[in-house]
């Protein structure tokens, strides 16, 4: 049910300077503060960051599902070249679940307990493709088969409480993929699952992504998941993208001290773990008390006065990788020979 292909776009999704804030009585919390990134057609972008970095709010903003007191303040969300922020609510409804689908972190609570699995999958077909009850049910059974649920004819009449967490997440994927979306947003789809089930779900997503040639925005805080599934990675910190690279560069040559810290805090199985595990010092600043310079400066081992006073821009290099850090700019006022990898190892 997607519209006529518009050849004028290379990226299925382009986010430009997205700003989403939550307003309390006397405070504006900038949950997403000028985020920009692209997802090329048929590619997987991982968005990585700690809790509170604005990953989930970014994804909900794309579908315009931000609820009061939250508000999208500005920016552009170009989906197939068209700005979603200009669409009416009715137009958005036609996109949601049809061209852009979403799966959530909590499979245990994300399905409606009072409807059968079949009813919940069928609903997508009935809304977006106008199918009748029978046809929708038939296609729902096919979807369950596609996501690898055994004996789908039986499962289709069951209620969510009769399924395990992994099975429910498969059902969520079936709902999301029902109408063959061009973009799938997966918000920590495996976080609530057992490790073995995690791998199965990721494999399934990867397999279906290749089969259906859709773009995926995968939100996670797990670098293992990134390594397994993503083509590109955006690292977010305090509502801003601090680094955007292809996956290979992220793992071989992370640039931002925060990214380096994230990588080093993953315990390696061949690493001597007698000592303390590596950590990033300090904690995420509270929104009420955001540093005026680089947001990571208070926790960064390399921070200089420049970092503490002035927010760096997101700069793009020749290969299209992006970095928001003074170290890589001409204005850098610290040690010109600084090596983020070695330094942070010794300080961590």
């Amino acid at each position: 049910m997607t519209g006529a292909p518009n050849p004028s776009y290379d990226n299925i999704l382009e986010i430009k300077n997205l700003q989403t804030s939550f307003f309390t009585k006397d405070l504006e919390v900038k949950a997403v503060d000028g985020v920009s990134f692209n997802i090329p057609k048929g590619k997987v972008l991982g968005v990585v960051g700690e809790s509170g970095s604005g990953k989930s709010i970014t994804s909900l903003s794309i579908l315009r599902l931000i609820e009061e007191p939250g508000k999208i303040k500005g920016g552009e969300i170009l989906f197939k070249g068209e700005n979603l922020l200009d669409k009416s609510e009715a137009q958005m409804r036609k996109i949601r679940g049809n061209e852009i689908s979403m799966i959530f972190q909590e499979p245990m609570t994300s399905l409606n307990p009072t409807f059968t699995v079949g009813q919940q999958i069928s609903e997508s077909f009935r809304i977006h493709e106008g199918l009748g009850k029978k046809e929708a049910k038939k296609k729902s059974i096919e979807m369950l088969k596609l996501v690898g649920i055994p004996s789908p004819e039986k499962r289709i009449n069951q209620y969510p409480f009769e399924l395990s967490g992994g099975m429910r997440q498969r059902v969520m994927i079936a709902i999301a993929l029902a109408c063959n979306p061009d973009l799938l947003i997966a918000d920590e789809p495996t976080t609530a699952l057992d490790v073995t089930i995690q791998a199965q779900i990721l494999d399934l997503m990867k397999e279906l992504q290749e089969k259906l040639d859709m773009g995926i925005l995968l939100i996670t805080h797990d670098l293992g998941v990134v390594a397994e599934t993503c083509d590109y990675v955006a690292v977010m910190y305090c509502g801003k993208v601090v680094e955007f690279t292809d996956k290979k560069t992220l793992f071989t040559e992370p640039k931002h001290p925060y990214t380096v810290g994230l990588m080093q805090s993953v315990p390696q199985h061949d690493q001597d773990v007698d000592g303390d595990l590596a950590v990033i010092r300090g904690s995420v600043p509270s929104p009420a008390d955001m540093p005026q310079g680089c947001r990571f400066a208070p926790r960064c081992p390399f921070a200089t006065d420049l970092c503490r006073n002035k927010l760096p821009d997101l700069e793009t290099d020749e290969e299209g990788n992006q970095i928001r850090c003074w170290i890589y700019s001409d204005e850098w006022d610290g040690d010109p020979e600084v090596n983020v990898h070695e330094q942070s190892k010794s300080t961590s």
Partner: protein, 318 residues
């Protein structure tokens, strides 16, 4: 499902036994000798003894209880001391009046309560929400007999107001008493329905708010479901579970006889029957009415439990 209903019916048996024992003991717990009451003040001792013998009041209590239950099961609840008619006939004459009153009031309450609750929940913290909740608080706090009297004054008798007052001047639209015609039904139904509507509205609001904040509602929205369908199909079905309990309790309570409302509007239902019988010390009728009201209450609860199963498949009675 049938198995569940049968099991649930069997579970009511101990409750029924308990109720029958309580109802039976009523006669012996209240002060005053029923035989004395029937015979009247200053009757000769001999006559009182005769009455005792006739009513079986000299038998040991367990025998009396067994006799009572045996005949009650067969539909014989004794004879009214006041009218001399069968108690079952007395109750039968009033039963449907009370059932009608309860049904109409509950329909009104559910209708108003659900709408008000849903509007409140979907517009939380707005002026509309606040207004509805304040009105509901009034409805909840207003005593039935007072509301009934006010309604009679305004809408049955009418108030002579200066002619420039719109609407409320001489609004004697409805009948103040009795039961049967539309004009007689309106005021008692409003009187009884108001309190329940207020309770249902508050319950609906909090239950809907709970559900609307849940993950599966976000899922429904992310699927592209229309907001009205999100609210009335996805959210309401889940929110109804606690609401059904409240409606069931309210309805069950109304079936027991709306004592005050029936008295105020001179509606000849079970509530009024109980009051009249208590005043006349007509014990068999009081016993019979309480027994029937308890039975109805148990029945309504049974229906509520079955309705639960339809709404929430997770409920298992094991």
């Amino acid at each position: 499902m049938i198995q569940f209903i049968i099991r649930r019916i069997l579970q009511t048996i101990p409750v029924l036994i308990g109720v029958s024992i309580l109802v039976f003991s009523m006669m012996h717990l209240v002060p005053g000798d029923p035989a004395q009451v029937i015979a009247g003040e200053g009757a000769p001792q001999e006559q009182i003894e005769n009455i005792r013998e006739r009513l079986g009041l000299n038998d040991p209590l367990p025998t009396q209880y067994l006799n009572y239950v045996t005949s009650a099961v067969q539909g014989d609840l004794g004879t009214s001391m006041r009218s001399g008619r069968d108690v079952s006939a007395e109750i039968g004459a009033r039963f449907w009046v009370t059932v009608e009153l309860a049904i109409y009031s509950t329909i009104l309450a559910v209708f108003l309560g659900l709408i008000a609750g849903i509007i409140s929940a979907t517009r939380k913290y707005t002026a509309i929400d606040t207004t509805i909740m304040i009105v509901a608080l009034f409805g909840l706090s207003m005593p039935n007999f007072w509301l009934g009297l006010m309604l009679i004054q305004w809408f049955a008798i009418g108030i002579d107001l200066p002619s420039w007052v719109p609407f409320f001047n001489n609004t004697a639209w409805f009948s103040p008493s009795g039961w049967g015609s539309f004009s007689q039904i309106v005021l008692p139904v409003i009187t009884l329905g108001t309190g329940s509507a207020a309770i249902i509205a508050r319950m609906t609001r909090s239950s809907m708010l709970d559900v609307i904040g849940s993950d599966y509602i976000r899922t429904a929205r992310a699927k592209g479901v229309k907001e009205q369908i999100v609210i009335y199909r996805h959210a309401l079905k889940n929110a109804l579970i606690p609401i059904v309990t409240v409606v069931g309790l309210q309805f069950g309570g109304l079936l027991g006889g709306a004592v005050l409302t029936e008295s105020v509007f001179a509606v000849n239902g079970m509530g009024k029957l109980i009051i009249d019988s208590i005043q006349a010390r007509d014990f068999p009728v009081v016993q019979g009415t309480v027994l029937v009201a308890s039975l109805l209450f148990i029945l309504v609860n049974l229906i509520v439990d079955v309705a639960y199963r339809f709404l929430n498949k997770r409920i298992d009675l094991d």
